[in-house]
Symmetry: C2
Subunit: 337 residues, 2 copies
């Protein structure tokens, strides 16, 4: 069977029963952004791992080694933030092709550690090997969290408001600019490319959400709303409504779509690698959380929809019509059929 | 600067200062087979990660997916065993080229979990991605150990006897047979190839050694004695003597060297991927440990040398002469100059 036929998540479903021997201290195995296991009465450990492969996740001539190091750390930190955790230590495995210099690697480590140090994350170990083909980077990242505060994908409740914590679609626009060498004004181009190559990380925001007691479910937006919301809905056995007119379009994304003739909301729904947080808030407390979050971070969280019963994900379009959203986010294997 | 000029361990030395922010609960960072950090008063957590890259660590047409899965788990378990620990959970990152089928992956997971289940190791999570080139497998593996029992590389003492727990060089012979399609009798060939593709794992043996209180330092033999003993000597600030006539040559390795005109001891010194344990034993207790180990496992441990003062690693040859052993084990980058 060709992998395209079942896709990445089909494969995970297929091998999951093979992988899981339940042990006493395991709180969550496969199926969330991190695995979770008990440390003591109050605390749990988190572990996540993410791999970046040359020509799949990045093109070496489109990202500086510093930014690539930064991004490798960022995508892993993002998984910790989506559970509401605090990161601890990183373990880097790196496969290095023959044409990469020591200076390239030093810059890469510097970018990685710039972000690591911000969150007091060590690189505590790893594996260094050569590669006959592309550069491959894998980080395994540990974290800690209070056992009562863990944010899962599977805890959304019907009636919850769905929030994101920033503009979306800018990373996908940045990628498009990089791949097609689209000519836009320098400032706009730099901003969108930076969104793609050096995504923000929301550790403090994730901890705040987890400690608020008002958030039911959370995931980081790595594959686009349509894919990532589907994970929440599948794990929580619920549906969702998204309001097209509420999707947060930055003025930079608007400017880019004007120049390229694209639809900003389509980019937001299917565009990957925003690494913002997508979370659901208990229905009567969304106003309070909006206020508290703004007071703490000086940034708004944006309500984009609502959790409903059933298993449909419905987009209420600006034209008043409704349509079912089929996930159109990034799947590494699926042929999209 | 070209990476060849400084080699894998040169690179690690270069980036190590950049990577390490000491935290209270970290017992050991970069520089051993696993990172070690405190869990509670009695216990420490271990974490190791190892990456297998197609055409560097394996050729897809020379190993079955089942064996490849087994080996990916084995090399990581080996790092836990060399610290004396008990493995807990595995996290698999896998980059999959387009020509790999679902059936291939199922076999690979089966091989991995065959060995995982033997030691009650879950695959608790990971990352699944596509690859434009080769298959890449990375496991991050956690473990636990009593804080007083941890076996480090850096605790060898002058006067310690140096031991290994089995025949060496067979994996290197197996690799040679695979690469050159050497024609030998079926049984011999199968045995040596199996040593390369499906190395034994010594978790119980590592725990036994760590709990014996008689072992000072330990490492797993991934790069050949000359390289791995150098790690022990460098970290312990000591030298070593190896007796050529004590190196354990199996009858299969002897038969292979007879057919190929090679020197078995040379293969043992420089050949990688044996994944046996190399450990140093307090000088007055080696007889006792030999006896206890044999009683427990029905297998002999073999004394191959002695830790000495200084920083030289000397081979006492069969002809009575001495020579310094320059590491000739596997370095992924070094040009060997």
């Amino acid at each position: 069977m060709n992998l395209e036929e079942i896709g990445e998540f089909g494969l995970i479903k297929k091998v999951k029963p093979l992988c899981f021997i339940r042990k006493k201290n395991i709180i969550k195995g496969i199926g969330d952004d991190c695995a979770v296991y008990e440390i003591d009465k109050e605390n749990a450990a988190l572990l996540t791992t993410d791999m970046l492969v040359e020509n799949v996740h990045f093109l070496r001539n489109k990202i500086t080694p510093y930014d690539l190091g930064y991004k490798t750390m960022a995508v892993n930190l993002s998984d910790i933030s989506s559970m509401g955790g605090r990161p601890s230590d990183a373990f880097l495995s790196i496969a290095i092709p023959g044409d990469i210099t020591v200076e390239y690697l030093e810059e890469l480590y510097e970018g990685m550690m710039f972000l690591g140090m911000k969150y007091n994350v060590n690189i505590l170990g790893g594996d260094t090997t050569s590669s006959k083909t592309g550069l491959v980077l894998n980080i395994a990242l540990t974290g800690v969290i209070g056992k009562d505060n863990i944010l899962y994908r599977g805890s959304a409740q019907s009636g919850d408001k769905i929030y994101v914590n920033g503009y979306l679609g800018e990373s996908a626009a940045g990628l498009d600019i990089l791949l097609k060498d689209i000519d836009l004004n320098y400032k706009l181009k730099s901003h969108l490319i930076k969104c793609h190559n050096m995504p923000e990380v929301y550790i403090d925001e994730g901890i705040f959400l987890s400690e608020s007691g008002l958030v039911n479910a959370c995931i980081d937006l790595s594959d686009g709303i349509s894919s990532d919301l589907l994970h929440i809905c599948e794990e929580s056995t619920c549906g969702a409504v998204i309001y097209e007119d509420k999707l947060p379009v930055s003025k930079e994304l608007q400017e880019y779509t004007k120049s390229t003739g694209k639809n900003p909301e389509e980019i937001i729904l299917s565009g990957g690698e925003d690494y913002k947080l997508l979370f659901t808030v208990k229905k009567d407390y969304s106003g309070q959380l909006e206020k508290d979050y703004f007071e703490k971070f000086g940034q708004k969280i944006i309500c984009v929809g609502e959790i409903i019963e059933g298993d449909q994900i419905i987009l209420k379009q600006k034209n008043g019509k409704e349509r079912n959203i089929k996930p159109t986010g990034w799947d590494h294997f699926s042929s999209g059929t």
